[in-house]
């Protein structure tokens, strides 16, 4: 019975593919779609850790609540198996589901709106014919009122969704245009790197100038020499995208680590060159607080020569440790006694490192709380978290993390202790609380009041008129 069913299913799939194109062409199409799915990093959100590919269910925490990614396998009841190509395109580029309901903009359809019809066709072919169907329903997303009304996104889209497909700039090279297409479309760089306004819309006037992403900070990647990555060569940018690091400058963690692991490292070198060419050309946006580049701050330092041996031995953790003790006990075993990292570069230096050199120390706190995990063809980069997650072997308190991070900033980084215990506590919450909900609720109340006043006035006028 089972065999017969799968036989029927086999015919059905062959039938669909056969009707559309010759099998050779359809194989090529599915392959191209797969590449685009990688470039679009669909898996980052639509595959949960240890879950089946593209079956959804990943909990994405946002400032306004938890959004669960959907099943985009070709399962008919649970995924997108019932979608026509047109319906798929509408979901991908307009944020509208098959049943007409709106998607939340955690799905970067504002970027995918730039994709060409041809590429959408390929993506559709891949997701329907190159992915195994999974008959599982991920948890439902339930945001607080009024955001629970998905229709509220209609107004949002009216204001913020640019529906124009990418149009090449005839003044620029083909490489630049390819890079722009990938950066603005599939790779959806602006989703994280562009700051958002009060309604969570990307502020295009400040494109790619840096924004908070959960506990992390997606930094300024404009061509500004001090605030951005204008000091990087194109080759460095390509190396960064394919390995997640530039020795003596920076390393990818958090969702950028995932983007390198799942997406960028798999792109062709000509596509990476194209992305780098475009990103290098992004207009500089300077932040006045950045008096020097975040990549060159700090120097080797150690005070163990004068402190070692004086600390004694203790059988308690409750003494209030200073930053030097916390640094030597928690960091120096890998990052070395002077913070210089390892000779082979596996353990990065803590000076000349964007995580410690940036004026905004969000990423330093996040790295300590959540650690770093990134696997590329060059191997795994791993730092354990100290934030008290179930598998964190060495949890530290907010007080200790603030003391430790400030010690690192002062001695290896930007030079100024700026981290408070509250900031560490906020990092544990993943997102700072968003004013969006209260703004929307206030706007709705105002609107309701205006309508009420309007009605009253109209009614009164009617009375007076009579």
């Amino acid at each position: 019975m089972i065999r017969r069913l799968s036989f029927v299913a086999g015919i059905a799939i062959a039938g669909i593919a056969g009707a559309a194109e010759s099998s050779e062409e359809s194989r090529e199409l599915v392959k191209r779609g797969e590449y685009l799915a990688v470039a679009s990093d669909c898996t980052a959100c639509h595959s949960a850790p240890h879950g089946k590919p593209f079956a959804g269910g990943l909990a994405i925490t946002t400032p306004i609540g938890t959004i669960y990614s959907t099943n985009i396998t070709p399962s008919a009841g649970f995924g997108i198996g019932d979608y026509t190509e047109e319906e798929f395109s509408k979901a991908l580029r307009r944020g509208v589901r098959r049943d007409g309901a709106q998607l939340y903009s955690a799905m970067p359809y504002t970027s995918y709106a730039k994709l060409t019809d041809d590429d959408v066709h390929a993506l559709y072919a891949f997701l329907l014919h190159g992915v195994k169907p999974v008959d599982e329903r991920p948890p439902r997303t339930e945001l607080p009122f009024p955001l629970s009304m998905r229709a509220s996104m209609i107004a949002w889209n009216f204001l913020f969704l640019d529906t124009k497909v990418f149009t090449p700039d005839a003044q620029e090279s083909a490489q630049w245009n390819r890079g722009a297409y990938l950066t603005l479309g599939a790779a959806h760089c602006s989703t994280c790197h562009t700051p958002r306004g009060v309604l969570m819309q990307e502020q295009s006037s400040r494109a790619l100038s840096g924004a908070r992403v959960g506990p992390w900070f997606a930094p300024n990647i404009t061509s500004d020499l001090k605030s951005g990555i204008g000091s990087w060569t194109k080759e460095e940018l390509v190396a960064y995208l394919s390995t997640g690091r530039i020795l003596g400058k920076t390393q990818a963690a958090g969702s950028m680590g995932e983007a390198v692991e799942h997406s960028f490292q798999h792109l062709t070198s000509s596509d990476l060159d194209a992305v780098a060419t475009y990103v290098k050309s992004v207009p500089a946006i300077h932040d006045p607080v950045d008096d020097e580049s975040r990549f060159h701050a700090g120097a080797a330092f150690s005070e163990v020569a004068s402190t070692r041996g004086r600390g004694g031995t203790h059988s308690d953790s409750d003494a209030v440790p200073n930053g030097a003790e916390l640094f030597q006990g928690n960091c120096a075993s890998c990052h070395a006694v002077e913070g210089q990292g390892s000779k082979d570069g596996y353990y990065p230096s803590l000076f000349h490192n964007s995580a410690t050199g940036a004026k905004n120390a969000t990423n330093l706190v996040a790295a300590i709380l959540y650690g770093v995990e990134r696997s590329t063809s060059k191997g795994q980069a791993f730092m354990p978290g100290f934030g008290g997650h179930p598998t964190d072997a060495n949890p530290l308190s907010n007080r200790d993390i603030a003391a430790l991070a400030n010690y690192v900033l002062v001695n290896y980084g930007s030079g100024k202790a700026s981290i408070t215990e509250e900031q560490v506590a906020e990092g544990r919450q993943e997102w700072p609380s968003s004013p969006l909900l209260s703004i929307v609720r206030a706007a709705m109340a105002t609107l309701a009041l205006l309508v009420l006043v309007g009605v009253v006035l109209t009614v009164r006028r009617a009375f007076v008129g009579r």
């Binding site: 031995t313 006990g329 890998c334 354990p384 179930p390 964190d392 072997a393």
Partner: protein, 552 residues
């Protein structure tokens, strides 16, 4: 007891001890939906504090004083060895080989795995059938095929790295049902050289399976970066220790009470266990109840607690109708040889131990004398070299040269012998009492002719041949047998309640709801490190415990 506070809620399962055995069982029970309460005599200390304790030690205490970074609390004393007098404080040792039972263990949350080397050898099928194969010692109540799946589970629970080639695996000719979760740690230069040299005289140096992450993370812990101080503490938790399991246990709902010293196990009219009594750090007594009890305090503290708990129904102590509690105390009697060589060997790259020779543990000779495991210690020799060079009164360039030479051209060779279980090697309660007024453990120890014959006829001659093959110019053998810190035997396992303490699941023959898993249960000591077998026995006991509690 007057003034005793009852409470702390009780639990389905009460586990005394937070070492590897207690933590593995606690996590299995929690995963099965049971409630778990753990009691730990000592404090819970953050890793960075112990790392700093270690690095703040004077150089003279950094090597061979693994207890030094773990100052005990008054209510939970353990061996301290900063000077000879101090070493006599807690463990009361007597007999011809008292020195060979100077056991180092840590009464801290996380237990003695804090300062283990992480070595995870399995027993061989023959190791479990000494009586029937060689007419010595005891047989296990089950065979290798029964323990094999538990070995696999233990290897995955702790994250053991090891070779994938069967020719490099141990035991030889025994199939593994699953590969090691990680590949082996690469050899350092000293180990390469030692392996080549040993092979020339028929000794096979194998890469040691070890609970240490090689090249990749495991269970949220990072890969080994070669700090080369696995003992006294892995500074980054690349090596499994039970302290790393504590946050996970709490996340799963387990409760851990530290600074809580169990001192009496209470039986009911049916001679089942109904409570454990413990002192807090203020000497206030408390009582916790449960349905099943696990005493997982390693091979000295477990028998001590059973003897301390004697009552009207159990006049010789709990679980002791056989009079075997505290008897058959075992460890691998160890000899060490410090050698100096013409050529550099350069030990110290990678973990402190990373390989061993085991083909010398097996053979028909075991009817006459002990088998033994040989090893070259892989700790960095620079502190020893520096101390020795300074003693020579050298300064300047000459001092540097001599430190370098001594760090490169010296080594320590170790041999660990298997010992047989003897009833006379016995732990009893000393009349001396600790800070809480509890009796200190007293242990009589004699390694026996089986071991002495092995040293004379078999191991010392081989040590000397190894040294010669390495090009040694000096060879200094330890004058007496030393401890290996692998405490075994005090709650010995067997199928006959008249001659053993626990059954094949480490359940007490005398008390249906009391489990005594760990090294104490092992019926044969063998020449290899005991922790993996302890962990396998813990998981086997956990299965029995979960089965019991889910069906009652």
């Amino acid at each position: 007891m007057a003034g005793e506070r009852s409470g702390d809620g009780g639990a389905d399962l009460v586990v005394v001890g937070t070492g590897v055995v207690g933590c593995l069982i606690a996590e299995q029970a929690l995963d099965a939906g049971l409630s778990v309460l753990m009691l730990e005599a000592g404090p819970r200390v953050e890793r960075w504090r112990i790392v700093e304790n270690y690095r703040n030690l004077p150089p003279s205490l950094r090597l061979f004083h693994w207890d030094a970074p773990y100052p005990p609390k008054p209510w939970a004393p353990h061996l301290e060895t900063r000077h000879d007098k101090e070493a006599e404080e807690y463990l009361q040792l007597e007999g011809p080989n008292a020195r060979a039972y100077l056991q180092g263990y840590v009464r801290y949350a996380g237990g003695a795995t804090w300062h283990w080397a992480g070595i995870c050898w399995r027993l061989t099928p023959e190791d479990m059938r000494l009586q029937s194969q060689f007419g010595v010692g005891r047989d296990w109540p089950f065979g290798y095929d029964v323990i094999e799946p538990y070995y696999v589970r233990a290897e995955y629970a702790m994250g053991v790295c090891g070779p994938s080639e069967p020719a490099l695996q141990w035991p030889p000719n025994a199939t593994r049902s699953k590969p090691y979760p990680m590949g082996p740690i690469p050899f350092g230069p000293g180990e390469h050289r030692f392996t080549e040299v040993a092979a020339k005289i028929g000794m096979r140096n194998l890469p040691a399976p070890q609970a240490r992450n090689s090249g990749i993370s495991y269970d949220g812990r990072p890969a080994c970066c070669g700090n080369n101080n696995c003992f006294p503490v892995c500074p980054i938790a690349a090596k499994y220790d039970a302290a790393t399991a504590l946050p996970r246990i709490e996340t799963k709902g387990g409760r851990i009470l530290v600074n809580s010293v169990a001192y009496r196990i209470e039986t009911d009219a049916r001679n089942s266990i109904q409570a454990v009594h413990y002192f807090d750090s203020q000497k206030q007594s408390h009582r916790v109840t449960g349905r099943t009890f696990v005493i997982a305090c390693n091979g000295i503290e477990t028998p001590k607690l059973l003897l301390l708990s004697k009552d009207d129904r159990n006049a010789r102590g709990l679980a002791n109708s056989s009079d075997q509690v505290g008897r058959n105390m075992m460890d691998q009697p160890k000899l060490i040889a410090d050698v100096e060589m013409r050529e550099p060997l350069w030990t110290g790259v990678g973990p402190v131990q990373s390989s061993s020779i085991l083909n010398t543990t097996q053979g028909t000779f075991r009817g006459r004398h002990a088998g033994a495991m040989f090893r070259m210690e892989n700790f960095a020799r620079s502190p020893l070299g520096a101390a020795a060079a300074l003693k020579k009164g050298l300064v300047g360039k000459a001092l540097d040269r001599e430190i370098r030479r001594l760090a490169a051209c010296t080594a320590r060779l170790t041999v660990e012998h298997e010992i047989l279980p003897h009833a006379e090697n016995r732990l009893t309660l000393s009349a001396k009492r600790d800070w809480l007024g509890l009796n200190k453990p007293n242990i009589h120890y004699d390694v026996g002719d089986y071991v002495r014959r092995s040293a004379k006829e078999y191991t010392v001659p081989r040590l000397q041949r190894l040294a010669v093959a390495l090009g040694a110019t000096s060879f200094e053998l330890s004058p007496e047998f030393l401890n290996s810190d692998h405490i075994m035997g005090g709650c010995i396992m067997g199928s006959d309640p008249a001659t053993s303490v626990v059954d094949a699941d480490c359940r007490s023959h005398d008390h249906d709801n009391l489990f005594l898993p760990g090294g104490g249960a092992m019926p044969s000591g063998t020449a290899s490190n005991s922790t993996l077998t302890m962990a396998a026995l813990a998981l086997k006991a956990a299965d029995a415990i979960v089965r019991d509690l889910q069906h009652t």
